[in-house]
Symmetry: D2
Subunit: 484 residues, 4 copies
Amino acid sequence: MSAIPNVLAERYASKAIVNIWSAEGRIVLEREFWIAVMKAQKELGLDIPQEAIDSYESVKDQVNLPAIMERERITRHDVKARIEEFCDLSGHQHIHKGMTSRDLTENVEQLQVYRSLLILRDKTIATLSKINERAQQWQGLLITARTHNVAAQPTTFGKRLAMFGEELLGGLSSLNHLIETYAVRGLKGAVGTQMDQISLFEGDIEKVDALESKICTHLGIPEVFDNVGQVYPRSLDFRTVSVLTDLASGPSSFSRTLRLMAGNETASEGFAKGQTGSSAMPHKMNSRSCERVNGFQTILKGYLVMATGLAGDQWNEGDVSCSVVRRVMLPDAFYACDGMFETFLTILNQMNAYPAVIDAENEHYLPFLMTTTIMMEAVKAGVGRETAHKVIKEHAVATVDALRAREVTKNDLLGRLATDERIPLTIEQLEALLEEGRSNAGSARSQVAAFNKTVSAWTSKFPNAASYERLNPLIFLLKNLQMA
Amino acid sequence: MSAIPNVLAERYASKAIVNIWSAEGRIVLEREFWIAVMKAQKELGLDIPQEAIDSYESVKDQVNLPAIMERERITRHDVKARIEEFCDLSGHQHIHKGMTSRDLTENVEQLQVYRSLLILRDKTIATLSKINERAQQWQGLLITARTHNVAAQPTTFGKRLAMFGEELLGGLSSLNHLIETYAVRGLKGAVGTQMDQISLFEGDIEKVDALESKICTHLGIPEVFDNVGQVYPRSLDFRTVSVLTDLASGPSSFSRTLRLMAGNETASEGFAKGQTGSSAMPHKMNSRSCERVNGFQTILKGYLVMATGLAGDQWNEGDVSCSVVRRVMLPDAFYACDGMFETFLTILNQMNAYPAVIDAENEHYLPFLMTTTIMMEAVKAGVGRETAHKVIKEHAVATVDALRAREVTKNDLLGRLATDERIPLTIEQLEALLEEGRSNAGSARSQVAAFNKTVSAWTSKFPNAASYERLNPLIFLLKNLQMA
Amino acid sequence: MSAIPNVLAERYASKAIVNIWSAEGRIVLEREFWIAVMKAQKELGLDIPQEAIDSYESVKDQVNLPAIMERERITRHDVKARIEEFCDLSGHQHIHKGMTSRDLTENVEQLQVYRSLLILRDKTIATLSKINERAQQWQGLLITARTHNVAAQPTTFGKRLAMFGEELLGGLSSLNHLIETYAVRGLKGAVGTQMDQISLFEGDIEKVDALESKICTHLGIPEVFDNVGQVYPRSLDFRTVSVLTDLASGPSSFSRTLRLMAGNETASEGFAKGQTGSSAMPHKMNSRSCERVNGFQTILKGYLVMATGLAGDQWNEGDVSCSVVRRVMLPDAFYACDGMFETFLTILNQMNAYPAVIDAENEHYLPFLMTTTIMMEAVKAGVGRETAHKVIKEHAVATVDALRAREVTKNDLLGRLATDERIPLTIEQLEALLEEGRSNAGSARSQVAAFNKTVSAWTSKFPNAASYERLNPLIFLLKNLQMA
Amino acid sequence: MSAIPNVLAERYASKAIVNIWSAEGRIVLEREFWIAVMKAQKELGLDIPQEAIDSYESVKDQVNLPAIMERERITRHDVKARIEEFCDLSGHQHIHKGMTSRDLTENVEQLQVYRSLLILRDKTIATLSKINERAQQWQGLLITARTHNVAAQPTTFGKRLAMFGEELLGGLSSLNHLIETYAVRGLKGAVGTQMDQISLFEGDIEKVDALESKICTHLGIPEVFDNVGQVYPRSLDFRTVSVLTDLASGPSSFSRTLRLMAGNETASEGFAKGQTGSSAMPHKMNSRSCERVNGFQTILKGYLVMATGLAGDQWNEGDVSCSVVRRVMLPDAFYACDGMFETFLTILNQMNAYPAVIDAENEHYLPFLMTTTIMMEAVKAGVGRETAHKVIKEHAVATVDALRAREVTKNDLLGRLATDERIPLTIEQLEALLEEGRSNAGSARSQVAAFNKTVSAWTSKFPNAASYERLNPLIFLLKNLQMA
């Protein structure tokens, strides 16, 4: 039997994220961390030969997983196995001085998290850039806005896109705050007091502080915790997965809405060239990618609950009841969030709107959408407000009923109102109001412009991020060959 | 870069569960299902040559994953790829007649779930059998029961074990009910109306009913749904993961309690021969397996939330927003639950109690634990209830304070009471009460006997299950070589 | 400022459930429990005067909450305050003998849970009965089934209802199993060993057993735990809230589907006489009750997570980290589930289907829904399968495109096929196939009949339950006056 | 039957939070909002008499809930009922011009959220200030740090407090970011396009912008959304409840640790003067407040799941499937978080440490905690590293076993090592190492100083917050009279 693969990594996540969390990737990160510690220890006066450091550096990319696994079988200790392997490869014994396992693993895992967050920030900005492009494209395409899934008032498709884009901007703000304030545990020893490093430097706490500073510079993580125990606080993991869940909200709401639009054939997620829907039913163009985006959000909510299970559950200076949970939750949450973005970018790239169907829907509902305006005009023409409301309601409900019974196939509310003496408006006047309504979506246009401005500020600040999409099709070529 | 493995499958779950959910395992299940459908269709009159069926049967175990993946790349449809591969292997074109993809995948996935449930039932009974063994072993070992983590009254270690065992019995009852009422979707077609099978049998609904019955017999699943859509109701998956979470509750509570006992050194999860705790601190014998059991329950709670995300979210006859979720949640929840049981069985096999430390704790607290009894005797001896309570409280609090200040090192409450004139009991009388208390754990013994009886009923009903533990060490030899 | 009311109890839950969980209701249950214990203790030989018991009984309904609160302020102990109040009312001091607080509170809270479950079983059966009524009413109403929210094959509206009804049947089975196996904690004392009751009966364990049996008879709960600590296992609460969440799944899926249908105007949840939708937009008939049902399920999922937070988290013989959680979660989960059923019954009572709109939808999609059949006929007429598939796909996609561009307003797939030489079927033959399709929903009818049979078995077993709906409108008159 | 109260509001939350969410409080907020809109509309040119505004202002605090409820019974629309009541009280008809219900309710609910967040920021800072006070008090109190709940190395109690305090600092950073970036929906109309306000101002979008700016100034909320639909994105609610859950993590971890310490009698949460623990067992001083803090976090995790149920589930421009959920989740999450802080502040005010018990524990474990140091000295003295490790391990394990068997009552590891020839250290040398270890907690002291500095920066920035604690006892006098 072959190994059971991680489904999220194999099918959905991009290579960049998968590399960070792969066994090999992690081992290289660990080795780089050990080398950074050695270099800093040497600079601060420990007797570590340069030749040893050079030797470690020269072999750091030689990762032999089966050999390490074999060592683990004998030592029964994972970190010890990896120490021995690296030392034997280099022919030296200078790594891990004054360190406990957690001094290695916590920092390296945080580095994996931090680098993954950086990738997701780029990808969020790339997504916003694409949403913005679509919002600009369709800023003037008038659609029938729905509340309670029922026709309400006109809006534009561009504004609808910007609306969900603005939700994603909220997630980006949280993500960015997390990145800017992310703190690493540092070299704190078995219970957080740095006792062993202090011993190593014969009581010189300042040197230990300097060592930690150098290490943080190596990691490139902005902050370092002052007071920790064996582990950094697990609410930081909670905060991380919470941000991932947050990021999925805007895309998820939009995907759900696009599934609704596909049901009415006003828009669709589109298809790759040559792709058809169901093999048995060739007309079926299923919103599978949208459904998948919603699925990813459900998955993230599950990992978030795993993260909440760890936050606030620390005993004393720490235990490892979090160990197996983090081993599953952290990489898998990143794979899921990344897969969500990859899928969502495909949707944004391929989606279609169907203006003819949209127009037909608008025409069907427009007289209803204008009733507020008609009422105001009737009042201006001298009718009492209560009377106007009563009459319009009477005819509107009758029109709904007639349409639902297919007694009429076209919305004839205006005709009904024109022939009711209580409303002193002619059919011409009423149709003029309707005509105006056909192109009136209030401040939709200026709102879409505001969205453009906000997104542009982000893409200016992170210019590489916005170009992400261009690389995207290649990844999808590989990923999309597999089915939902 | 090597493939990213599924951590739960690779490190924690047993081979039996992993096999069911492996890619190869699933493909064989699918092929068996297709063959069963063909056989039944032939029996009911469809023109399918016996030679074709024989040919399919002869190649069903030839699973070539890369070849199937290659076909999927071309067809862009996973089920189609697997149909073509199987047909080409056999040299025939008779499988999947009148079936949609879901007719295959839903039933086979349910079979994976159902068989996994059967394994877990056995494992639950094996665990109960082992808990019972330990409960009998320590049925008379008096310990200081704690509520609010503070000494309360005497109990026995056997009863404490039986208490958590009884929690697991509740989970077993739910699991067994799920197994006994588990319903499979059956051959229902694209939207649940069986239209294509009915076409195939030229409108003969009775034949389609007969076909479905035969298929259910093949699957060995007790019930079949009448009314489904494209999919079976996802609340069945919710119910399944809910039962898995339930099963983890008793073991999780006991593991948490054993972590507490290890902190007081009254008991420990034990260690394999030759194993030590921390490499730097050789005295440390960490409750890593107990912590892991708690970790597994946290994981299950996350998968449960994924399952709740699907229940009640069906649109019309079904969509695939559940697809990616189930692909992750179902196997991973089973791996986690199975890994939990494997870990917990190790704990039960290796755990230790430390009677000398237990006795010291009992002696330290016993006078406090007897205050209710002392008060009753004082009242019998003529003291007013309120007075007795006041005096005992006064001395008890003073004793607590003195012990905490280490002004005394032995609990001298009895001495204090004996010299207080308001309590007309001599030191001999008081010590006699204490002596009685040393061996009095109320109905603990009979409760443990009742637990034995209940567990025995289950092991009699499922005799193979109880013997599971004997195979266990071998599995652990492989699994335990990896660290938490 | 007035007191903050419990929103779920005040606005949504029925009086029957609210009464069980009200402060007064609970106090009466407690007093009845104390009286039952006294009576049993007296029968088993304790010296408790009959007059005392009579006196307690005569005052048990005199519940003065402010007086009890005042006592609690002084004693700082809730159970003690309630003991004193009851004793002062009766003029006796015989309740609570040999009992700890948890002997009272655990059993009474379980009684609240158990009685609430019985009410929900009735309500579930009433709901099934109503679903069944609607399923029979619309068993022949052909609708376009949708998968991925896209037209797929024909089904009937009755079958769609039965499909979601069958999901609810699964929840009912779980609920019924929970009720039939529900176990009460019993009189187990401070740590579960019954030490104080055994003292009271001077070591006679059999008498204590007999006492417990009598108490369980009083409670009317089927089972009693053997081995518990201070508390019963919290996984029982988890199981309870899990069942409530399960019960909401079928109604929630149906409500979501009805919201989708309302968006297409094929059906609606209906409205009370005189009710209109939005005040500003009189045509709007919003699916507010359906949305609310979905909201209740979301709420239940939150309470379920609270319940999972307690399961598996017991320390030793118990602590009260569960206390504040259960105080919120248990009543509120029952209110939410009950409110969900009340809302859903209103929907079932008032909902409408719009056959004219449904027919129009069927006509629009029918040629697509028949492509499988057309292909089979083409093959019979001598066309190669691959060719037939290719041609049909070609025309189907073109028809979809033409319809979406409004180049055609009627589905003209058959005309396109008839004029394509590669398909040797005439327009008459094709239209005959379509005509057949108009009334063919496969086994929908027999499935609805099967649903009827299953539901009838439940209503026969619980005849009072099915009549619940008749009382319903009165409750709604009060409840529905408040807005979502 | 009296009304069912909201347990969290009634028993646990402070008056400040409860007022914000009370029915009366909300109605006043709504009226203030309407007045602010009127004033702004007047300033921008709408014809609204000053007298009308004055009149509304004069009656805004006259809240008659039963009268409003009665109106709701008749109109069947909650907002309409509140409009009519306010208008009748004032004798004018000028409020709610160009507004939809959501223009009122979304903004007012966000104001409730925002003001609650401000209160919680103060309370968080007050809590940090108190943690800091305790950390300084016990900065030098050496305790035995535990990992895996087992003795590991020395630390100080002050550092342990600062460690959990630093976790809370992380939550505060998230809270502060949320407050500083919190965006209000604004006056956006039925689907977000401001159509009705634009109509009211005869197409002048700039005036509508100016109106919205004025309104935001009135609300005092820093940001306003550009693109929304009927509602603001529900991921903002998710972010809010996520922060509340985050805030509970540090307090929850510390409370759990204090429950563990209470079990070893090294510390306790303390008790109010005159308070005793269990009535039957007067020595019992239960960590009920700590347990309650843990309970509150479990509750918050449930509300967080309700919030995740809304995020990413928006259909089109919005629906009200979120309505009943937000009605429960938002106030209740704030009550729970606030009650958590109130309880936790009591713990911080009343907690005790027991230095004599702590010292005894230190003495018991200290030789084990020094093994790393001993090994290093042995190596300096010429022993091979592997030999030193082997010998120390041998004796350490033997000592553990002897202590657990009570063969020795004092940790005699040093004696064993001194008499082993393989370790060339005398008993005097070994005891000197131990003596050094008695006061060596590494960088604990400087870490606690760093914590002090960080907390002081916050208290300087929010000077009122830190003084919160002084008001606290009064609130607790009322709250704590009720039992868990």
